[in-house]
């Protein structure tokens, strides 16, 4: 689960990572009061930063520099409520509901990069640092891989001081900045392990003219599977960051991801759901979503799944692909029939059942009198649903 920059920085503070104090506003009034307060306390320059779960906010107009109340009013007006669009938000963009206001009086002489991820290949936390901060790290990794220094961390031993120090020295740091770097890297590691993060990124990690170091930006993702250990982290979830359909699906324990196509899919199993999307794509259709109804596909989950699919206006036809294993296909068919009767299905529906009692299930569907098509295999189903979706457009 991604969290906001301001939330990430609050967590970082708890782990001794140096960050600038910042405050959050959700309205013009709050924003103006905060800015006024900060000017009053002697701060001369600040940034107003849109709080959305996406990078590249600066280029997309989500960050403003403030030197006067006038600047502040203009910036707050512009940013609060704006639809920020860039390659990280997807074409639909993200509405800005919150801004972070942060002091920016300190000059910056150098911008570094520091991040920790779980390295799936070596199955260890991996600390990545670079003297070339402030740029896109994925791009840097491709263009200048040698500019990124790496330190794998043994979870039994933790990040040791000498490892952090050697990285700092290799980054070209000296004097007290080395100590700052040790504190920052060690804090990042402790945060990563103690909060079960899946990613921590500080980019840029800034150095001021007095050799102080602090996190200018912060990106943190948390492992939702570990929330049972840290129930307080659950509260950092911002529902405004997800599409309403995704929230609805999550409430019903459905794995749903909105995509930008026109064919709704309902599948049991994540791998099969992806393979179904791929098959639709093969027949030149575009899936409108990923939807895994899970192992226990019953009437309730299927009903909810239907509602979610149909409430997406871009869906022009629906494909259901269920492989009956422990769940028998005749039961699934009964569920589909009941759910279809409950929902007003106003778009073409193609169903393919396979596995345990598939024939009985298909038979039930065909005899249900519902307006739906059955297919014997995935290829046929996908081809047919794409055709139906196109018919809808051409009609």
């Amino acid at each position: 689960m991604k969290i906001h920059e301001y939330q990430a920085k609050n967590l970082m503070k708890q782990f001794g990572i140096p960050v600038m104090d910042s405050r959050v506003a959700e309205s013009m009034d709050d924003g103006i009061a905060i800015v006024q307060d900060m000017f009053d306390s002697g701060i001369k320059r600040m940034f107003i930063k849109a709080q959305i779960h996406a990078g590249g906010r600066g280029k997309a107009g989500g960050i403003a520099e403030i030197r006067s109340m006038d600047d502040a009013v203009k910036a707050l007006n512009r940013i609060l409520g704006m639809r920020l669009v860039n390659n990280q938000t997807g074409p639909e963009g993200k509405i800005v509901h919150k801004v972070m206001i942060v002091e920016a009086d300190r000059a910056i002489v150098q911008e570094l990069y520091a991040g920790i991820i779980l390295d799936r290949e070596h199955e260890l936390p991996l600390l990545l640092v670079s003297a070339k901060g402030g740029v896109d790290i994925e791009e840097l990794a491709v263009k200048h891989p040698e500019a990124i220094l790496r330190q794998s961390i043994d979870p039994w031993l933790g990040l040791m001081d000498f490892q952090a120090r050697n990285l700092a020295v290799d980054l070209g740091l000296t004097g007290k900045t080395v100590d700052f770097a040790i504190r920052t890297f060690t804090g990042m590691y402790h945060m990563f392990m103690n909060l079960d993060c899946s990613q921590i990124e500080i980019n840029p990690l800034a150095i001021d003219p007095d050799s102080n170091m602090f996190a200018l930006d912060a990106k943190v993702a948390l492992d939702e599977s570990a929330f049972f250990k840290h129930p307080e982290l659950k509260l950092l979830h911002d529902p405004l960051e997800e599409s309403p359909l995704e929230i609805w699906a999550a409430k019903n324990k459905l794995n749903y991801v909105k995509l930008d196509g026109e064919i709704g899919c309902m599948v049991n199993g994540a791998g099969l759901a992806m393979a179904t999307m791929d098959t639709i794509n093969h027949f030149r259709g575009k899936p409108a979503n990923f939807l895994d109804v899970g192992g226990g596909a019953n009437t309730e989950t299927i009903t909810e799944a239907f509602k979610i699919l149909l409430s997406d206006n871009s869906v022009r036809a629906v494909l259901i692909n269920i492989f009956g294993g422990i769940v028998r296909c005749d039961r699934v068919a009964e569920g589909i029939i009941r759910a279809a009767q409950d929902s007003a299905i106003d778009r073409p529906l193609v169903i393919r059942l396979a596995g345990t009692n598939a024939a009985q299930g298909m038979d039930l569907l065909r005899r249900s009198g519902l307006s739906l098509e059955t297919a014997c295999c995935l290829d046929e189903a996908a081809e047919r649903v794409v055709a139906l979706a196109n018919e809808g457009v051409n009609r």
Partner: protein, 290 residues
């Protein structure tokens, strides 16, 4: 022949008294799996389906001499259950539970490696040697004894493929679901090596998906060490970057782990990559004709 499990496997079910545990224990028992004990702390001394229940793995293993365990406990307790199994003398642990934190798995795996205990999963359907023994939650009837090894990160997708293998008239030596988590206890390479060395396996079907680079590493292994034909399928060609596709491990992160990279790596390693799911069975047949 088979890998990892056979009719001789003696299995303990951890979390046998839970709903899932009881349901699948019955199914496994019906399949012929030797379920010798169950473990649920606080219920030691009782029985379920005539299977004795113990308070601890240690006592269960001491009494029954089991070599394998299958875990159905909730995620909050699953890490501890794995450690307990590892400490008890069990040599193969199959963890069905979904939702174990990745950092915990990292620690689990490091420890298991150091003591030489193998884990399948977590978040996996388990494994089956058709006709001998099922240690998992897969539907029994789709399987048939045979000479094709199957290894997969997925559940129903694997069943789909296994059905195809069975439908084209072949069967499976062993089918292993390694699970969809970012850090699986056993990975493709481990299974490929076992299949390569198993005289009962003629070909291997590998079912991968987006995320991580275990398919790339598998490709390298195939290239360097395998003489048997390997048929590959990768799910998620149309998955967008940065979005988790159900499985915790199925995510294109930092531009890495795309299906096209994996397919490219596998093809150049000599794997018969199948581009459409429906073609797996046929491709397998063709590869065996050579």
């Amino acid at each position: 022949m088979s890998i990892l499990v056979s009719r001789d496997s003696k299995v303990i079910v951890q979390g046998i008294t839970g709903r899932e545990g009881t349901f699948h224990t019955e199914s496994m028992k019906k399949y012929g799996t030797r379920i010798v004990a169950g473990v649920t702390p606080g219920k030691g001394g009782t029985r379920i389906m005539d299977i004795p229940i113990f308070d601890s793995m240690k006592k269960a293993v001491q009494t029954t001499d089991a070599d394998t365990s299958i875990i159905f406990v909730p995620p909050r307790f699953a890490t501890d259950a794995i450690f307990e199994a590892a400490d008890s003398g069990i040599t193969l642990i199959v963890c069905i539970t979904e939702g174990i934190p990745a950092i915990d798995m990292m620690k689990v795996k490091k420890h298991l490696k150091s003591i030489g205990v193998r884990l399948i999963g977590p978040n996996c359907p388990g494994l089956i040697t058709p006709g001998e023994c099922k240690i998992g939650i897969m539907p029994s009837p789709i399987h048939r004894p045979g000479r094709v090894g199957v290894v997969s990160r997925s559940g129903t997708l694997t069943y789909e493929v296994i059905s195809q293998i069975t439908e084209v008239g072949l069967g499976q030596s062993t089918a292993v679901g390694i699970g969809g988590d970012p850090i699986p206890g056993t990975d493709f390479v481990d299974c490929l090596e076992l299949f390569q060395n198993d005289p009962g396996t003629d070909a291997v079907v590998l079912i991968g998906e987006i995320g991580g680079n275990s398919e790339e590493r598998a490709a390298m292994f195939v290239h360097d060490h395998m003489s048997k034909p390997v048929i590959g399928f990768i799910a998620g060609k149309t998955a967008p970057p940065g979005k988790r596709m159900g499985h915790a491990g199925a995510i294109i992160a930092g531009g890495k782990g795309t299906a096209s990279e994996k397919i490219k790596a596998m093809e150049s390693a000599g794997v018969h990559v199948v581009s459409r799911l429906s073609e797996v069975g046929k491709t397998l047949l063709r590869s065996l004709d050579h």
